[in-house]
Amino acid sequence: MADPPPPLVPHVERRLYLVRHAETDALTADGFMHCADPIPLTPRGVGQAKALGRLFADVPATRVHASPMDRTAHTARILAGARRPVAVDPRLREISLGDLDGAHTSEVFAAAPRWLADPDAALPGGESLNAVVARAGAALTDILEASDDHHVVVVAHGGVNRGLIAHLLGMRMDRAYRIRQDWACVNVLDRSEGRWWIGVLNWTPAGVDELAMARGALIGGAAMRRLGR
């Protein structure tokens, strides 16, 4: 008898909801990039987090895990609702922009032209994507091991989520920035038979409308086009 066929519908042993924080104004319209706190949610972001809270009320998770940064902790606090605690882990923090935090995107990419294309590239004083995946991946492993929850909810960041999804799926890390992550988006990953399966990527309570209106005004989009990828 050869290997049994892989079921096309996985038997889900564990479900991970990986959420990106709601809207901030960290990347301003005039192109300056901020990562370090303080970066609050915008009023619209608070509304997005409330929409997530209504949706996650039915998800049987006893706590919500989050990066300790303002935007993720606040999103997680609203998402969790009154009855669930938020557990923060500093290893889920966003990729560090180092000395260039607050600089204009043109300055950032002049300093490190391959920053988004090369997972080993770091900004001066900052981190590479591979370094982020190493610490955030370790945090996720610890969270999954320590939790009895079948459904695990983690609120993190655009860079962290892209790196984690690529890492968990076994994608090439230099493709991680192909994964789109909008404000307050939800990714669903299912653990089955030793692998992570993609359930959902980048769903937001706003649905398609925002995508259809934005038409390419995505974070990193202009930078990716500049890199010809």
């Binding site: 008898m1 050869a2 290997d3 049994p4 066929p5 892989p6 096309l8 519908v9 996985p10 038997h11 889900v12 042993e13 479900r15 909801y17 949706l55 996650f56 039915d58 998800v59 079948h150 459904h151 690529a166 799926l169 076994g170 994608m171 090439r172 493709r175 192909r178 994964i179 789109r180 939800v186 669903v188 299912d190 692998r195 992570w196 399966w197 993609i198 359930g199 959902v200 990527l201 980048n202 769903w203 937001t204 649905g207 398609v208 409308d209 995508l211 259809a212 209106m213 038409r215 390419g216 086009r225």
Partner: protein
């Protein structure tokens, strides 16, 4: 940046809870749940300005596309069809010990059927041909057609295509940037976006 809504057809009649025989060429249409999924998908993609709606020639895809099209004409494109299973068509998966190997090796094919690599080539070409010169599009196809394409777009090897889940009536949004397709949103079930109703038993 034109958008493409790539759907898997809604639940097929008589397949709730899983289908024992593997049937690519089934002539059955949608179940009541499948029609509800298609209606929810229609509402979900309502903000797209679809210049074309295309689907495979399987009845479950045509019925889904007709609902999602909301009165627009539907073009049937046989190149969008589900995987050609050759001599395995209609047989229970339990009788096909080689099925797992074929789905785990893009070079292998079922006797008289097509491999995952062939499926990807055939489907990607049909999809490209089905897209309009301008404007958005809606395309209704199948679990493995979509999975092999999406795995390729995401940079997953073809043998891992089955890791890309496609729920019945699930909606994936792609952006067209010149000849490139980029995944914007993947496998959203508008009736159950967090998939809390999907089977999640433990142990």
């Amino acid at each position: 940046m034109p958008l493409v809504a790539l759907l898997r057809h809604g639940e097929e009649d008589g397949t709730a809870g899983g289908r024992a025989p593997i049937e690519s060429r089934s002539r059955r249409g949608l179940s009541a749940a499948g029609r509800a999924q298609a209606e929810a998908a229609r509402d979900f993609v309502a903000s797209l300005d679809a210049a074309r709606v295309a689907c495979s020639d399987r009845p479950r895809a045509i019925e889904t596309a007709t609902i999602v099209a909301a009165g627009r004409p539907v073009d049937v494109v046989p190149g969008l069809n589900s995987m050609d299973l050759g001599e395995w068509e209609g047989r229970p998966a339990s009788e096909l010990p080689e099925l797992g190997r074929v789905l785990g090796d893009p070079a292998l094919r079922p006797p008289g059927g097509e491999s995952l690599a062939e499926l990807l080539t055939r489907f990607a070409a049909a999809l490209e041909g089905a897209l309009p010169a301008e404007g958005d599009a809606i395309v209704v196809a199948h679990r493995m057609t979509n999975a092999v394409l999406l795995a390729n777009l995401l940079g997953l090897p073809a043998e891992d295509a089955h890791l890309v889940q496609q729920d019945p009536g699930g909606v994936t949004i792609l952006a067209r940037e010149g000849p490139r397709l980029r995944v914007q949103m993947l496998n959203v079930s508008p009736l159950d976006p967090l998939r809390t109703r999907a089977v999640t038993s433990r142990g």
